[in-house]
């Protein structure tokens, strides 16, 4: 997903947190971040890979990608506004 040309995302490690914890952690990072920031959420909650993309669409940001890692999902979001 990431190449040398893309910036390094801020990691929000929400593994072990249950719904809606990972989404709330992402929202906090979006509030604190700057337009153009990439944020990677690590979540072991199965609902995150469905909930977070829906929230990203509604909130007007960009879903860069969702990858399943070893026991968790990595969801990368770009803050657009």
């Amino acid at each position: 997903m990431q190449t040398l040309a893309t910036p390094i995302p801020r990691i929000v490690d929400a593994r072990g947190s249950y719904c809606p914890g990972p989404l709330m952690e992402l929202i906090r990072a979006i509030r604190e971040g700057q337009v153009g920031d990439l944020i990677a959420v690590y979540s072991s909650d199965a609902g995150s890979k469905m909930d977070i993309p829906k929230w990203v669409e509604k909130a007007g940001h960009r879903l860069v990608g969702v990858d399943t890692r070893d026991g968790y999902d990595e969801i990368v979001v770009e803050k657009l506004r």
Partner: protein
């Protein structure tokens, strides 16, 4: 002498103190153990009753009793403000300059509301998280003659997760009874993608919202309030006009635990799911709202956690293994859920089993009424 010190005289702190005295009766009689509870005001407040001040029928003075009256006589009660927990010295420092040493520490300092984190919250929004605010909301409802009511959540986690939905249902019922329903639009705003965090409860509540004509707005995270235009705005870019705005205020853990280096800026103590120990410390426990556990911040949670904290501390003092059903916390929580029109349901769950709420009926509403009425004689004393 093993000294147990409990911080906070809410449901969790009071119940741990009383259960510990029972378990340590012989150790206390032999002066080998002591149980001290420190509370800022020396008063026990039944916070679940606040919502009923706003919804009518409850009075603030009925929700408060002296903490001393709820404690076993063997519990030493210290009333005063704590300035700091000094882990290196194993002591609690009081604002009056005194120190209280501990061998086992229980942190039951609850949560606090921080409405000031959202500009104009205090001038524009009503809530029901203090007795005074609930009474103001009651007055606002009495004066309401129709218009737009927005009910939402301005930060997660917060105390008593079903409460804003309950308030929406109860207000809708009340407005129908008062003949104002046709003149009122009710919007319910949820910060997540459904009406309630737990999916099974959301599946129960969503059709009730639809049936009552309450419009559900998902992914509505309150960002700001514009008092000039009377609109509440979300982080997601939506805005809703209101005549009456009711918001759950943002919550944080106690400042004391942040300042003492036990919790991050949120104030929620990093707590083991099963032992309720804080941050891997062998002799510091947390329960109730103070923890970061993925459970409801509710008196019920503290109620079911307290026996585990008491058993683990008693086992440590008596140099034995924890035993019985209270040797480990399973995440058990049980609470009532009002849906209006004199009906309610029951949420029972633990870490591994989500709730399966029964179809709302009058029985569970009455269950809540009876529980609230009998609370003083049951829960704090460890009778249920």
């Amino acid at each position: 002498m093993k000294r147990v010190v409990i911080l906070g005289g809410g449901v969790g702190g009071t119940l741990v103190a009383n259960l510990l005295v029972r378990k340590l009766r012989h150790d206390i009689d032999r002066h080998e153990a002591s149980v001290t509870l420190i509370d800022e005001m020396g008063m026990h407040v039944y916070q679940p009753g606040f919502m009923y001040i706003a919804m009518g029928g409850e009075r603030a003075e009925k929700l408060v009793r002296p903490e001393r009256s709820l404690l076993d006589e063997e519990v030493q009660l210290q009333v005063g403000r704590i300035s700091r927990i000094d882990e290196a010295k194993g002591q609690v420092e009081m604002e009056d300059g005194s120190q209280i040493g501990y061998d086992e520490l229980v942190i039951a300092t609850g949560s606090r509301i921080v409405p000031e984190e959202i500009e104009h919250f205090n001038e524009e929004a009503h809530h029901f998280y203090t007795a005074a605010a609930a009474l103001e909301l009651r007055h606002a409802l009495d004066a309401f003659t129709g218009g737009k009511i927005v009910i939402g959540i301005a930060g997660m986690p917060y105390k008593c997760p079903p409460a804003p939905l309950e308030v929406a249902f109860l207000i809708e019922s009340e407005l129908r009874e008062r003949g104002l329903r046709e003149k009122t639009q009710i919007d319910y705003c949820s910060p997540i993608g459904r009406a309630f965090t737990i999916e099974s409860v959301s599946e129960m509540a969503t059709p009730i919202l639809a049936e009552k004509g309450i419009e559900l707005h998902t992914f509505f995270n309150v960002e700001s309030i514009d008092p000039a235009r009377k609109v509440v705005q979300s982080l997601e870019g939506e805005e809703l006009p209101y005549d009456l705005l009711i918001l759950v205020p943002p919550h944080r853990g106690a400042k004391l635990v942040i300042d003492s280096g036990l919790a991050p800026a949120s104030g929620w103590l990093p707590t083991d799911h099963h032992t309720l120990r804080v941050g891997g410390r062998p002799n510091v426990y947390a329960l109730g709202d103070a923890t970061d556990l993925p459970l409801s911040k509710a008196g019920s949670t503290a109620h079911f956690e307290a026996p585990i904290v008491a058993e683990l501390i008693a086992a440590s003092i008596q140099e034995r293994e924890p035993r019985g059903k209270h040797a480990s916390y399973t995440g058990r929580v049980m609470c009532f859920f009002e849906v209006g029109d004199g009906k309610g349901t029951l949420l029972q769950f633990d870490y591994d089993h989500p709730p399966r709420p029964p179809k709302p009926n009058r029985f569970w509403h009455l269950g809540k009424v009876v529980f609230n009425r009998t609370y003083w004689h049951t829960v704090p004393r460890g009778r249920v």
